[in-house]
């Protein structure tokens, strides 16, 4: 019976397909899954499923407990020791130690390489101490220590051993063109020493006379006919225009014992030393000019 004039009690209770007593059954199924107790209001159609679940929850059989001995043996091997981490460490320690050692070796090798490179660079730059520079010269062919070979001419507090003036006095002359004794808190200039006047009358910051340690060096004639800025370094220098002898008349540069020409660095150093007008380099046993000019009068 259908229609609006029919009471609710007379309406048919249709069960939708798939929703038949789903609410009740879901609760029963949830109860079946949760525990062994079978719900009392369980539908008759679900009773076989309840029996299957009860069989699945049955107490264990003997064949399901056969692996216990193996499991216990494994337990003794792995967990039976007080601290399993102690058994793991010996396996990891060599790897860790190896990595640390290899890192240290690599760092040490890099440091040694850097040190050797630095020493070699310093040796070729001539920045090593005299003995080390000499050793580098002998071993790796670095430039010889120039100043070290002149140790006998190095100025001391009492004055240069070979009677030459200290560097500072001549440096002053180089800048001002003539020797003017400069007030010094510790040393007084030698009154007997007078700088040689420059041939041109004015001191050049770059004097044209530049001896070379190569005794055989002779200037080539300039193509333009003008004199070369580097005159012949045949020492002694030309007679003084004033007729007065040079403050260092005995200056005769000796050739190098080995006969080998000097290196560029030696030339460079000589340029520096012969900026002092009127002072030729003192004789040196090695044939290279002295870094310090030798005045005529010793202090």
């Amino acid at each position: 019976m259908t229609g609006y004039g029919v009471s609710d009690g007379d309406m048919p209770n249709f069960r939708w397909p798939g929703h038949d007593a789903s609410a009740i059954e879901d609760a029963a199924l949830a109860a079946m899954l949760s525990g062994p107790e079978v719900p009392e209001d369980l539908a008759a159609g679900l009773q076989p499923a309840a029996d299957v679940l009860a069989a699945l929850r049955a107490r264990p059989s003997a064949d399901e407990l056969t692996g216990e001995a193996f499991a216990l043996a494994e337990f003794r091997n792995r967990v039976g020791v007080p601290d399993p981490a102690r058994r793991i460490r010996p396996r990891r320690r060599p790897a860790l130690l190896t990595s640390i050692l290899s890192a240290k070796v690599a760092v040490a090798a890099a440091a040694v390489a850097i040190a050797i490179g630095g020493v070699a660079t310093a040796a070729y730059a001539g920045a090593l101490p005299a003995p080390a520079q000499r050793l580098a010269h002998d071993v790796i062919g670095a430039p010889a220590n120039h100043t070290a070979s002149h140790s006998s001419g190095r100025p001391t507090a009492a004055g240069p051993a070979d009677g030459r003036r200290p560097f500072r006095h001549h440096h002053h002359v180089w800048w001002h063109g003539c020797w003017t004794p400069k007030a010094h808190p510790h040393k007084t200039p030698n009154p007997a020493w007078t700088p040689k006047p420059h041939p041109t009358g004015t001191a050049s910051p770059n004097p044209s006379w530049t001896p070379s340690p190569r005794p055989s060096w002779t200037p080539k004639p300039h193509p333009t006919g003008t004199a070369s800025p580097r005159p012949a370094p045949t020492c002694p220098p030309a007679p003084h225009p004033t007729g007065t002898p040079s403050p260092h008349p005995s200056f005769t540069p000796k050739p190098h014992p080995s006969g080998a020409p000097g290196t560029y660095r030696r030339h460079h150093r000589h340029h520096h030393h012969h900026r002092f007008p009127g002072h030729g380099p003192g004789p040196h046993p090695t044939g290279s000019p002295s870094p310090l000019p030798s005045p005529t009068a010793s202090e």
Partner: protein
């Protein structure tokens, strides 16, 4: 299920007590084997043994209640089964005849135990006829005793999907049992 004393048993096993570990094993291994015999019958015992090896590796680091313990053990087992399936997919092998294995004589048990085992095996055989997800969900809910949320995490589905699968599986299981007419 061990119940309230689980924490003490676990702590004792972690301290090295063989008795405590034996209790854990006796409580967990039978449902584990039943679960494996349904989802991976060919390698159930091997996977169960591997599961315990891996469980022992992490036993000292485990922290949780009995539900978490079972969920952890069954998760290890399930992943081992997945690995085994992948391995077999790469190197297919001819499986032994399950019927021949079942016909092999077993240790002499009591008659009740034999009957019970038989009914358990029959029940497992009926569950094995279900679709894989339904069978696995029912086993994890009933045999392993896990809650719906734990099962959902384990199988990678939502709790609602797990609930639906379980209910459908139970209805289907009732139909199978009714059709078989087997009284368990």
């Amino acid at each position: 299920m061990i119940g309230e004393g689980f924490a003490a048993v676990l702590a004792a096993a972690q301290d090295g007590s063989e008795a405590a570990f034996s209790q854990l094993w006796r409580d967990t291994n039978p449902p584990l084997v039943r679960y494996l015999r349904v989802i991976a019958p060919a390698v159930a015992e091997d996977v169960a043994a591997d599961t315990w090896v891996r469980t022992l590796r992490g036993l000292n680091g485990f922290c949780g209640d009995e539900q978490a313990w079972r969920a952890w053990v069954f998760t290890i087992s399930r992943r081992l089964v997945i690995d085994e399936r992948r391995r077999k997919a790469r190197r297919p092998a001819v499986p032994l005849d399950e019927a021949a294995l079942a016909a092999l004589p077993t240790a002499a048990d009591a008659a009740d135990e034999a009957l019970e085992r038989l009914s358990t095996k029959a029940a497992m055989a009926m569950v094995a006829k279900l679709p894989p997800l339904q069978a696995e969900v029912i086993l994890l809910r009933v045999v392993a005793g896990l809650e719906t949320e734990a099962v959902a995490r384990l199988v990678g589905r939502s709790p609602g999907a797990v609930r639906v699968a379980a209910h459908r599986g139970l209805r289907r299981l009732a139909e199978i049992a009714a059709e078989a007419g087997v009284t368990l």
